[in-house]
Symmetry: C2
Subunit: 479 residues, 2 copies
Amino acid sequence: MERGITVKKSEDFSEWFTQVITKAGLCDYAGMKGFIVFMPSSYEIWENIKRFLDDKLKATGHKNAYFPALIPESYLRKEAEHFSGFVPEVFWVTHTGDSELGERLAMRPTSETIVCDSYSRWIKSWRDLPVLINLWNSVFRAEITATKPFLRTSEFLWQEGHTAHATAEEAEKEVRDILETYRQLIEEQLAVPVLLGTKTEAEKFVGANYTLTMEAMMPDGKALQMGTSHFLGQNFSKPFEIKYLGKDEKDHYVWQTSWGVTTRMIGAVIMVHGDDRGLVLPPRIAPIQTVIVPIFYKNEDRDKVLGKAKELAELLRENGISTHLDDRTEYTPGWKFNEWEMKGVPTRIEIGPRDIASGKVVISRRDTGQKHEVMIANLPQEIMKILESVQANLYAKAKQQLERTIKTTESYEEFKQILENVGGFVRASWCGRPECEAKIKQDTGATIRTVPLKREEIFGNCILCGKDARDVVYFARAY
Amino acid sequence: MERGITVKKSEDFSEWFTQVITKAGLCDYAGMKGFIVFMPSSYEIWENIKRFLDDKLKATGHKNAYFPALIPESYLRKEAEHFSGFVPEVFWVTHTGDSELGERLAMRPTSETIVCDSYSRWIKSWRDLPVLINLWNSVFRAEITATKPFLRTSEFLWQEGHTAHATAEEAEKEVRDILETYRQLIEEQLAVPVLLGTKTEAEKFVGANYTLTMEAMMPDGKALQMGTSHFLGQNFSKPFEIKYLGKDEKDHYVWQTSWGVTTRMIGAVIMVHGDDRGLVLPPRIAPIQTVIVPIFYKNEDRDKVLGKAKELAELLRENGISTHLDDRTEYTPGWKFNEWEMKGVPTRIEIGPRDIASGKVVISRRDTGQKHEVMIANLPQEIMKILESVQANLYAKAKQQLERTIKTTESYEEFKQILENVGGFVRASWCGRPECEAKIKQDTGATIRTVPLKREEIFGNCILCGKDARDVVYFARAY
């Protein structure tokens, strides 16, 4: 297997993606169609994402718990819309050992129903509210067609939050607050800019009153939903009988939310930031922020160079910079450069005998390829400055890219041409009727990705039917 | 429901355990027999266990990854002993949506087989070794009888390590190193003393050459296996064809290990340290190490007391002490004392107007009930001292308790009487023959929990057959 990426990202995006995830050691295809192994290189990114989000959620009073991976069919059936939405994708457990089960068990496609079953026992009084629980687990949705590592697989990792509140207002505030936490994660940590908005009735979570969403744009012109936050109203609390005795001495059904982000975010990072040499990781989520490659050609330089390299690695680690010293002797410096570039490490430090003599090292940044000669004495500060600059640059580039893909039109002909030729988001006015939405999907494959949170001023009439427009919305084909 | 525990631990241990886990809010029974919900109170303990172990594993070069929860039946069948050991307990997935699968998928009972499938692709050369991978996930083993929350359920949380090495020596060193890491976790963090040793052929992991184990003793006289570390030899590398090209330019099969600890450790903590008032948590794994309960009876004292309590909470947190301020107004101090005692918080700080005036507060420790009056100025240091003392005391008490339960005998009559009347470990000589081991199990329900790592001097003959003894071993009935 050729070690480097053999196609250009701009020329064969799909093949480029496959090569990057394989050659950077991010995932392995498991034996069952649609399943992948998250190898350490991608799992470490997930751990960094988890740490950031987990801290944020705990700081706002959320607690983690664990609910079973199996859900009785009867639970799923309690909320009818929810059941019919998920049932075609459910993995069914029918036997243990040689015995057939009395009731089939679903591998969790999402946990609302089993969580609600517990909440009906846990919540008795207003004193028990709010309940703010988050779960880190994996979910199972049988993907028959168009599976793609990280983006669409039959099992993926995620977190799912499930909260119960005394009032609708409190619950709706939670839905918005979580969206803002997600935005910080995605824009400020992953450096992936998103459009924020509401899903239409056709696109919302099955069982929700409404769904807030974040939508990113991939380089092939297809949108990617990066996370959603749902207001469930009392759709689950009624069938599951989750009631509390209020201060008014009366019974009330609770108001609920649920929300989640998944490992597909890693897919977005790969697609948005990667280049022809491989992965490019934003420093804030990079497992390794800087790699030190010692360079010496004479054996007599070995100890001096390695000693200094170790000292610098220690110094950087003490300064909170995640540092890897590549002291393997079985590979050449050039081989190592290529490997760490492939793996997307944001900065590389080269150090050899002459550098030590002059008290300087060379830092290369992964995003631009620029080289900086810096004084060893200032190394931690200089690296930190460069890492911040890489983070900012990746976001700025991606933001520009996102903005370039947004096209506004009042003509359905042009609308179709944009989607056919370049993709991206098409900003258009819409009458609000599901029939127009469905017809457009049928014609073009594009769906309404989001109705902006900040209502935009209407221009023209509905892009399809020409009747009065209700909203300006963003259409796109999507993963 | 009565809020406090209504039975004595010494009088009805099983009912006591059920009341503690329910009333301290540790777990909820899910709708399916044998499954539990890990509620935040127990999940937080698991998070603390995870953090400690994860840091230790990473510091020794292990990396985390994630493998699918589903395993094709054909993978499980590749190692015949392994398959026959696990198959009676397997949850089988047979359908997705309405379609029957071509091949049944097992919900992972353990991941050796699917890991080995990947390793056969990942490992090519000596340069790729060792592979040191750890997984944090849950496993599924259908428990038909005698399910018990935390100790024996159909799904539980654990970590499973899977390593591959160039030589048997390296792999065996890993097996021992991991056991030592586990011992540190269990004895030094959970304050649960264990016996270290080897499992017999009858009791080892199905598929291993041998299994190292840690065995704790519960107050009802039954042993609990706290974790195991297996030397797999080449039992999996051969059927899965995991080979590497050595420096000698020849192909070799790798040598493997696997090892795991589970959420049953939480069960041990509850059983070993709990008392008639509820849970007692070792400070090092307690989610809350100290709870501050403000006490005031006049409304005019409210602001002053709450203000000081907040200030102290902040101060303690800055000193790395996990602190909870219970400022709820709907409950009395007495109610709060009972609640936090039930939940096992190691120390409680009471603060009222007179304490503030005198510059002192009262600290109560959960394990002994002792009260200490300490100067507010020294609070962080004093709390830390007390927490260390609680940790040491819990371990010392448990260690004494463990030692008291070990009975040595040369008489099979006495052997049976001990097991029947008091339980605990029975230390006896054994000829090494599986027939004797099996007969003893049949007679008494006791198994050989461990053959000590440090070989003990033989006394007398085999406890059953009277022939020459090979080892001194520890028998017990077990969970």
